[in-house]
Amino acid sequence: MAWITPKTDWLETDRCTYEDMNRIAGNVNEICSISLKANYTQDDVVTLTECQNIIIALETMAELAGYTSDETLTELVTADSYNAVESFTLGLKTWIDLLLRQTSAAIYSGDGFYVGEDKYLR
């Protein structure tokens, strides 16, 4: 499943649908190259194990990529916990993209070190 921009403005009055769960799990699959369940329908319930797998995948990938975040991932079914998961996912995706672009830039400029948009250390 292609990356879909995460929703990071969850409110307590919102409801989580099967499409939201597919986006959340699909995005985790996208950045972690794994295959969590991402084909939820209205006939599903979200299990505790599925929730835990999403959190474990994100934390594992963050550790591998050296990504740190202020967000605390929890198994609570609240707007805050959904904001945390989706914000964490977005931050991790941005970080990984940055690392990938850095790698490309290093290849392109020889010994140069890419530190941000249009800035190279030589």
Binding site: E12, Y40, D43, T47
Partner: protein, 584 residues
């Protein structure tokens, strides 16, 4: 300020929310088998479905428009339901699930709690799922099928219990009438039982099933506003439930209806001048509880003082309604005011009540006031008069010796009044003024002994006799009754009628040097002014509550509510209140 108070103060009050129901569950457990078509649920449906008190756990369910993120849901984990929460059984969206319900003996009906749109099919009949459905059974087993009729949602089976457990709210209540009663009469005051009558709509014809509901099944009622509901009142079915043209009629009375059926043997109450208040209050509590009443609340017993003058009082054999009404009618002294009110919320207190409510005459219909003749003299034709005294004999007399078998229950009528009865070789002893009951500890055994006697002729005569060990010997200290007064007159003297009473007890209870019971003098002080009016009503009010009556002329009166007839009908609420002037 409570929501009810706030709305009572308004000229036009929003309609009350009303909730009532009947819980007619027989003492039968159900089991469930052949469970198919429920992909989600508790791992122990046989116990979780048959437990309607267990709260329902909301899970992260994607049916329909998903689940809320307000913290009310948890992620689903396959687990057994428990007292902390359960899921029940859930079909696929738009799906069908079925199960077989079995009972240990024949049940007239099942009450099934569901959520979601769908049908319930049992015994070849389909019912529209309404949240709570009563399904006739008349068997020990029945197969039930649940079908969701919403392609995006499940049928959720939350509970299945034996019998009929129905509740109604404003949408289905046609009328409710509560008659909440006390009797504040000066003359011939009698215990008054409170009653409820509910008429409510139910879509399916369950007339046969409701006719099987047994007497004394609990009926509950509450009323108010969201967040401020009146305390639950509990009544008990007193007449068969009927159903006609989809209207169910339920009639019940409060638990105190049991008083009239509870007969008490003559009871002794031994007190001291320091413990009179305490002992009388505790004795009153025992009379209430021995009739099977569970008090919703009670005031702690009054403290004892050091007064040591001993007295006894004997309640003659009587039913509990007579004794309890007599105590709460004749024990008013200073701030000591033993009061028991049921009306669905059984409560026992001993402190003199203060004004609890304000009622404005401007909010009432016509106030009708009446004055009865004053009582100028109270007299009795009882052989021991209106007031009597118990004289205690401090010598324990042997009443009887019984040969007993260990762990066997015995009783002995002592043949008169005793202020103290005791028995040896006994446990689990209970005593009344005339009788004693006990369980023997040891077997009575016997052995023969031979004695010798020398006659005047110088002959030696042999005598054989039997000696018994471990008999139960009943002993008693007698109580005799002395007449003190045949009548009393009001002081200062006044014109009026003579009230003749039949005392239910001999002797007196004092606190220090003040007569506590039977305090007939108090009746001279009870107002002879009574009244009635129609008001908007308040579901929290109880008989014997004291209120401040704000009259149209700007004056106020302190009054005591005697009866409340609270009616909910056609979306409105009305109360007919009768009262007596003063604190009664």
């Amino acid at each position: 300020m409570s929501l009810i108070d706030t709305n009572n103060a308004k000229q036009i009050r929003p309609p009350f929310l009303i909730s009532c129901g009947i819980a007619a569950r027989p003492n039968i457990n159900l089991s469930f088998s052949n469970i198919t078509g429920f992909p989600i649920g508790d791992t122990n449906p046989s116990s979780s479905l048959d437990s309607e008190e267990w709260p329902i756990k909301a899970i992260a369910d994607l049916q329909g428009d998903g689940f809320p993120l307000d913290g009310s849901c948890s992620f689903y984990a396959s687990a057994a339901g428990s007292e902390d929460g359960k899921i029940g059984l859930m079909t696929h969206i738009g799906g069908t699930g079925s199960l077989t319900v079995s009972a240990s003996s024949e049940i007239p009906a099942l009450t099934i709690y569901t959520r979601g749109e769908g049908t319930i099919t049992a015994g070849g009949v389909s019912y529209e799922a309404r949240g709570v459905n009563v399904i006739p059974v008349n068997s020990t087993s029945i197969s039930v099928t649940f079908t969701s009729t919403d392609a995006t949602a499940r049928m959720e089976v939350q509970s299945i219990i034996p019998g009929i457990n129905l509740s109604w709210d404003n949408d289905s209540i046609i009328s409710i009438e509560l008659n909440l009663r006390s009797d504040l009469s000066i003359e011939n005051s009698q215990w008054a039982v409170s009653e409820i009558e509910i008429q409510a709509y139910y879509a399916d014809d369950i007339s046969e099933a409701v006719s099987t509901i047994a007497d004394n099944v609990p009926i509950w009622y509450t009323c108010g506003y969201t967040g401020d509901m009146s305390p639950d009142r509990r009544f008990y079915l007193s007449e068969p439930v009927t159903m006609k043209d989809n209207i169910i009629t339920i009639k019940g009375r409060d638990a105190s209806g049991a008083f009239i059926k509870t007969t008490n043997a003559a009871q002794i109450l031994n007190t001291t001048s320091g413990s009179g208040k305490y002992d009388l209050y505790v004795k009153l509590m025992h009379f209430i509880q021995d009739a099977g009443i569970t008090l919703r609340s009670k005031e702690s017993a009054p403290a004892k003082t050091s007064g040591s003058v001993e007295r006894s009082l004997i309640f003659k054999a009587n039913t509990s309604d007579v004794i309890i009404q007599n105590i709460i009618n004749l024990s008013h002294t200073g701030s000591y005011w033993p009061t028991f009110v049921d009306a669905g919320i059984p409560k026992l207190t001993h402190s003199k009540p203060t004004s609890k409510w304000d009622i404005y005459e401007a909010d009432c219909g016509d106030v009708r006031q009446a004055a009865a003749r004053n009582v100028s003299r109270i007299a009795s034709h009882d052989e021991y008069g209106l007031h009597s005294r118990i004289v205690r004999d401090n010598t324990a007399q042997e009443i009887v010796r019984r040969h007993v078998t260990a762990d066997t229950r015995y009783s002995q009528n002592a043949g008169g009044y005793y202020w103290k009865l005791s028995v040896s070789n006994a446990k689990d002893i209970s005593v009344t003024a005339e009788s004693i009951w006990w369980t023997a500890i040891l077997n009575t055994t016997s052995f023969g002994v031979i004695g010798y006697e020398i006659t005047t002729d110088g002959e030696i005569v042999e005598h054989e006799s039997t000696i018994y060990q471990n008999e139960s010997v009943v002993k008693g200290k007698a109580a005799s009754i002395i007449k003190l007064l045949s009548s009393i007159i009001a002081s200062p003297k006044r014109a009026g009628m003579t009230m003749v009473v039949d005392p239910i007890a001999y002797g007196q209870v004092f606190t220090e040097s003040v007569l506590l019971y039977p305090n007939y003098n108090y009746l001279f002080n009870r107002s002879n002014i009574t009244g009635s009016f129609i008001w908007k009503g308040d579901p929290r009010m109880q008989p014997r509550d004291v209120f401040t009556f704000h009259r149209l002329d700007g004056t106020t009166q302190t009054c005591t509510i005697e009866t409340i007839r609270l009616k909910h009908k056609e979306g409105g609420t009305q109360a007919e209140i009768t009262y007596r002037l003063g604190v009664c």
